[in-house]
């Protein structure tokens, strides 16, 4: 089978149509020094069984767990999640375009919203956004719209890539970003002296990028006293054991939902979680599915409050992104339904137990960078290429690695890691 759709004849006709003599002439604007002047050095083609064997052999070189996390996590995905996600009735990336025709899909999204509200302690949730980073940016925008202010305070211990995305959003919108530093213990400083009458919100991540558990007691009161909103970026798995952000007074809760039933893949697709207090309902970005009754009084699901959306509100829309991650949201819905309250708590407890096991072993070795208790990640001093190189994001931490553990990390793997670090 030929995977390249264009024949030489096709190319000739296209070049002729636009009045260019050759392919080289078409690319003449590309600087010489970046042009590849030799054929691709690709190995000869393989048959499918050969390719399969080849990839299998390569994958078997992975002898120990990578301890990689930093936003994407390997959690166990029950078979039923994979099975149901693959059903053709559900297999769509977005909200269907003739939304109300797909009652099943809308019901899933409605249930996803409901599950997220109980998980986060919020009143309303949308049908999801791209990922944790864009959800954070949208939450900060919401705060700016609600307060009429232009300054966004963000914890320096919030995912560096999320802050990068936020910076991109902020630049175009004429808003300002100010960072609240973190302490030597690995916790974000109290925002008191950074907050002012210009601050629209304070955004922090719980647990933060280093895995450390932030102190949130009294935080919302401090933020609200300045008329600002508290935005929490939360790991949904951690909510099996940590307080729901609604409990500590957060106004908007966002997060990366990949960990809920979605594989790590190559770092995507993600699932942007977005939930808020009821008073911000009309400022929510994206799609919202509502429960209603039809002409004959039967239960039905529909897209609701669409006057926030760009096809009606045009340039004044709450957001110009209405894309949701329907399939990833479906996986999250199935995952939460299968795990239940007790199951999610168990997963979260296992994460903490494994992290504490490692913490206790590494404390006497003086390998830990931060003293604050953490959920499923630890920053350690090591020259070994394990976990994530923290200096990529924080150059002030050379030879430091962010180690991630989940319920899938076995005791043998942990003991092996401890042995490695002991030398």
């Amino acid at each position: 089978m030929n995977y390249i759709p264009h024949t030489d004849g096709d190319r000739e006709r296209m070049l002729k149509t636009i009045g260019v003599n050759s392919l080289a002439a078409l690319f003449q604007d590309v600087p010489e020094k970046v042009k590849l002047k030799k054929p691709f050095s690709l190995p000869s083609p393989l048959s499918e069984p050969e390719l399969h064997a080849n990839l299998l052999a390569a994958s078997q070189k992975n002898t120990s767990p990578a301890f990689l996390g930093g936003g994407s996590y390997s959690h166990f995905i029950p078979s039923v999640v994979k099975q149901l996600v693959s059903r053709s009735e559900f297999y769509t990336a977005y909200t269907p375009y003739q939304a109300e025709l797909s009652q099943g899909m809308l019901q899933v999204i409605y249930e996803y919203q409901t599950l997220l509200c109980s998980l986060t302690g919020m009143d309303v949730a949308n049908a999801s956004l791209y990922d944790g980073a864009t959800a954070l940016a949208e939450a900060c925008f919401l705060a700016c719209r609600v307060t009429g202010r232009k300054e966004i305070l963000v914890s320096a211990a919030l995912h560096p890539e999320y802050r990068k995305v936020l910076k991109t959003y902020v630049e175009g919108a004429g808003l300002r970003l100010k960072e609240v530093p973190f302490t030597v213990e690995g916790k974000t400083e109290r925002p008191d002296k950074y907050l002012s009458a210009e601050s629209a919100c304070f955004a922090l991540q719980q647990p933060n990028f280093f895995g450390c558990i932030e102190s949130v007691g009294g935080l919302a009161e401090t933020v609200h006293a300045q008329g600002a909103l508290l935005v929490a970026s939360a790991d949904p798995i951690s909510l099996g054991i940590l307080a729901a952000p609604g409990k500590y007074g957060a106004d908007v809760v966002v997060g990366e939902g990949q960990a809920l039933g979605n594989p790590v893949a190559f770092g995507g697709p993600g699932l942007g979680i977005f939930a808020a207090k009821k008073e911000y309902l009309r400022q929510l970005p994206g799609r919202i599915v509502g429960l209603t009754t039809d002409q004959e009084g039967r239960r039905g699901f529909c897209l609701t409050l669409q006057t926030r959306e760009q096809h009606i509100r045009r340039e004044k829309a709450a957001s110009n992104i209405c894309t949701n991650e329907a399939l990833a949201a479906l996986a999250a819905t199935l995952y939460l339904s299968v795990m239940g309250k007790a199951g999610l708590r168990k997963v979260a407890e296992l994460c903490v137990q494994k992290t504490n096991y490692l913490r206790h072993a590494l404390t006497p070795l003086k390998k830990l960078v931060f003293s604050t208790p953490s959920f499923k990640e630890l920053v350690i001093k090591s020259e070994h290429k394990i976990g994530l190189d923290l200096s990529l994001y924080y150059p002030e931490f050379p030879s430091c690695r962010l180690i991630s553990l989940t319920e899938l990390t076995g005791k043998e793997a942990l003991d092996e890691l401890i042995k490695k670090l002991s030398h």
């Binding site: 009309r282 009606i312 004044k316």
Partner: protein, 129 residues
């Protein structure tokens, strides 16, 4: 199309009406505006004490089919908002000049009132459309 335009009121080109009473001005949207919008389902009004310049956006009105910005016909400080609209936004349809009023302003520059449209002028404006 109904052309219910009370003679004693002043109007903005953005379809708000103003009823001046000393230094206080009551503001709402016209019968024509609510007719064009259809069933009003939500009215977002400002907080009391907020100040607006003439023709600055003071809120939004949302109907089943669209959302429109509300503009302050004259500059001033909001002294009262019609909180009844929170629970009964349809009052805007039922009585746009009465129980559907939106905000009361303390007018800053009374001269701005005279630059608004008269009932006759406003009638001509909506007839043209």
């Amino acid at each position: 199309m109904s052309l219910f335009v009370p003679a004693e009121l002043k109007y903005s080109k953005e379809h708000e009406w103003v009823k001046a009473d000393g230094k206080t001005a009551t503001v709402g949207i016209t019968h024509h505006a609510q007719d064009q919008l259809g069933d009003v389902v939500y009215v977002d009004l400002p907080a009391v004490g907020k100040e607006f310049a003439a023709m600055q956006e003071f809120g939004v009105v949302e109907s089943v089919k669209s959302v429109s910005s509300l503009y302050c016909p004259v500059g001033g400080k909001v002294v009262e908002v019609n909180t009844a609209l929170n629970d009964k936004p349809q009052l805007v349809n039922d009585g746009p000049y009465a129980e559907g009023w939106m905000i009361k302003l303390e007018v800053k520059i009374p001269a701005e009132l005279s630059s608004l449209l008269t009932a006759e002028e406003y009638k001509k404006l909506i007839e043209k459309k």
